[in-house]
Symmetry: C2
Subunit: 411 residues, 2 copies
């Protein structure tokens, strides 16, 4: 079967990342599997072997490539829970999360059959503004850990608003995700009540080439300009100044963005591309051919008009030359719910827009201010929820826990 | 790299089914990939190549192995839509479904990028009781196409009740599923309004060995006794008598079953297994070792008590010796929603229990009657929704459509 390896088969094998380095794949001559120009064959792996390391300098689930499914749960701390209670909660949650992400059964969970497929599960914890009051650390709260400023076009529903704690669970397996979510909610039940749950999805594991930028429900490639190298991530995402408890942490902004598919779908493809400034086919800027080509905002067409409309989403969100810090890590998921009873809409869809950055005042807010003032996409999208969380640094060992340096006995 | 093929590597390759028969996988020596006793290595395929054939004697999505994600949409026919309108709707829907399942863009859909990954998409259509009135075929309505009888323990919410039409979409990719669902809803919007949407999930594609029986959120292996051979399916699922328009069709019963995880999780594992009559580890009957071992209901323990509790779910649902027809094809999906606002429950979970059969009066109702009278599981589960649909036979060609023989001009 594998006596003759064609050059392509060899290339396929060499570009294939394999679970635990254990399987090598070899392609036989078959036109339908031949990678086209600019594409690569999908990695062939076995999902149930896949894990993301929980321990590290940074929390997982931030720069981790987005998994297929999201459960984002916001919590309100119950009355009477004090700093000692928060410490117990975070010790408990951290221990349980580390076990779940490793495919192990947390204490008190009698169902190893539901935890043996972590499928790239990540569990990421964040602290809302009021948590600093609860733990008596008002004076340590970062300036930026406050509600995002209100924009003229916002229609924020408080039911998707600020919360005391957030747990972001992302997983390539929906059953594992449901069980892990259930476990975390139950484990925390003495300390916190669920405020909201935002669920989302992207393509399934294996449905697209690895590393392919996800698409939203408007069909747009969404997240092309994300920081991909450790240097870019350090530059945009990870806090690298201030107190020790904040360093290597980040800031998560969650915006719930309703997308009106009913009116969007009336547009022809060209109008859709003009609104975005990018091609629908592969996300390339309208001045380029490939997704990662640099946009040429100065380029004009034969009428002397700019090829990329200055009011397009891409042009408006692009950082000005004198403000290169206006970049964020987008980690958005699609949501798609049944229309509300009585609604005339055919859909109730949009984005759970999650982004990470060092400082939302300098990053998300500056970008959003421009988009609020003018963005062709505004006709079809509405921000309906907003919350901000401090993401503490990663957990380094089993004796460590989320926020330990902020909450430690010695403080 | 593949010069030496170990025996295990060869076995791996030979048990691997590959998309379009194009890739062969060869395992290198690596202990962590060694299949344990009684297990086999998961099939290694590329999800975005996977399709399920739409055309055939029977509709797909019935005996098709359950995909990871479900959208089950029930519709009410709009006032004024008559038989000709239903015919137009079903022609349109059938054409669109056949294209979507093949990874092609249906007419009026401008987003080939959102339809190029069918990922085993199936779209299955069913007719509710009132559809026969709307098309003036009351006298042809099957006796069994009527609400399931009310059981003593039912707490049915009409919002999950009978409807005129149902479309079941199942897919291994959540984004493809969302787009296909959106397309079908929009395509039908002139004729029908959405009544309810039931979403569900199982393990992701690739997360478990192919053909492994799914688990529900109680951790139970669910669906062991399903008909697996064409003979069993013909016996239990496919209508093989009566008018031509019904033959090779089936009956879908949808029950929404709430499962109380909060009280279930108080039980120890032994109590959970006694309730079910099966082992949690692999679904084996408590009298056996492997999932598919025959249950021995006569076997007693050292105290002379039956090993399988006669009130266990398995014992109660097992067909009596004189009624072998009391079997159904279960194709249930888990649901897991945020708790309703104000609820003290930590979860809002259960099953979208879908089953297929020839005649629910003789099959589902007979089984459910026994379960309603006594089933240890009843303490933790509640039926909260019920609907019945006739599933017309498969579509044989592009000129054919769902229900054509029932709706044809000559009738």
């Amino acid at each position: 079967m594998a006596k003759q390896l064609s050059r392509r088969a060899f290339l396929t094998a060499s570009t294939t990342t394999v679970a635990a380095g254990t399987l090598a794949a070899c392609a036989s001559e078959q036109p339908s599997r031949q990678p086209g120009p600019g594409t690569s064959i999908s990695p062939i792996r076995v999902l149930h072997e896949e894990k993301v390391e929980f321990f590290g300098t940074h929390q997982a689930g931030v720069v981790t490539p987005a998994q297929a499914n999201l459960n984002l749960i916001a919590f309100t701390v119950r009355a009477g829970v004090d700093k000692a209670g928060i410490r117990r909660l975070l010790r408990l949650w951290t221990a349980d999360a580390s076990r779940l992400c490793a495919g192990q059964t947390p204490l008190g969970d009698l169902e190893p059959e539901l935890t043996d497929t972590p499928a790239n599960l990540t569990i990421t914890c964040g602290f809302g503004p009021r948590l600093f009051d609860i733990i008596g650390a008002q004076d340590q709260r970062p300036d930026w850990l406050a509600p995002i400023k209100q924009y003229s076009r916002d229609k924020l529903d408080p039911k998707w608003g600020e919360a005391d704690l957030v747990v972001q669970l992302c997983c390539d397996d929906p059953l594992m995700l449901a069980h892990a979510t259930r476990h975390m909610v139950r484990a925390g039940a003495d300390y916190v009540a669920t405020k909201w749950v935002q669920r989302g999805f992207l393509h399934a594991y294996g449905a697209k080439d690895e590393g392919q930028t996800p698409r939203n429900l408007f069909g747009q490639v969404d997240g092309t300009v994300n920081p991909r190298t450790p240097e870019e991530q350090l530059d945009q995402v990870w806090i690298d100044e201030g107190p020790d408890w904040a360093r290597n942490g980040s800031c998560m902004v969650v915006r719930r963005i309703a997308m009106n598919l009913d009116t969007w779908e009336i547009l022809d493809r060209e109008s859709r591309e003009v609104s975005m400034g990018r091609k629908l086919s592969n996300g390339a800027p309208l001045t380029g051919d490939e997704e990662f080509d640099q946009a040429d905002f100065a380029k004009t067409d034969s009428f002397g008009l700019p090829v990329i409309d200055p009011m397009s989403h891409m042009a408006r969100s692009h950082p000005p030359a004198d403000h290169p810090e206006q970049r964020i890590l987008r980690r958005a998921y699609n949501y798609d719910l049944p229309p509300e009873p009585g609604s005339e809409q055919l859909s109730n869809s949009g984005l759970v827009f999650i982004c990470f950055q060092k400082n939302p005042k300098l990053q998300f807010e500056a970008i959003q201010q421009r988009l609020d003032e003018g963005d062709r996409l505004n006709q079809w999208i509405t921000h309906i929820g907003s919350a901000v969380f401090f993401i503490p640094p990663g957990v380094q060992s089993e004796s460590d826990y989320w926020g330990a340096e902020l909450l430690g006995e010695h403080q």
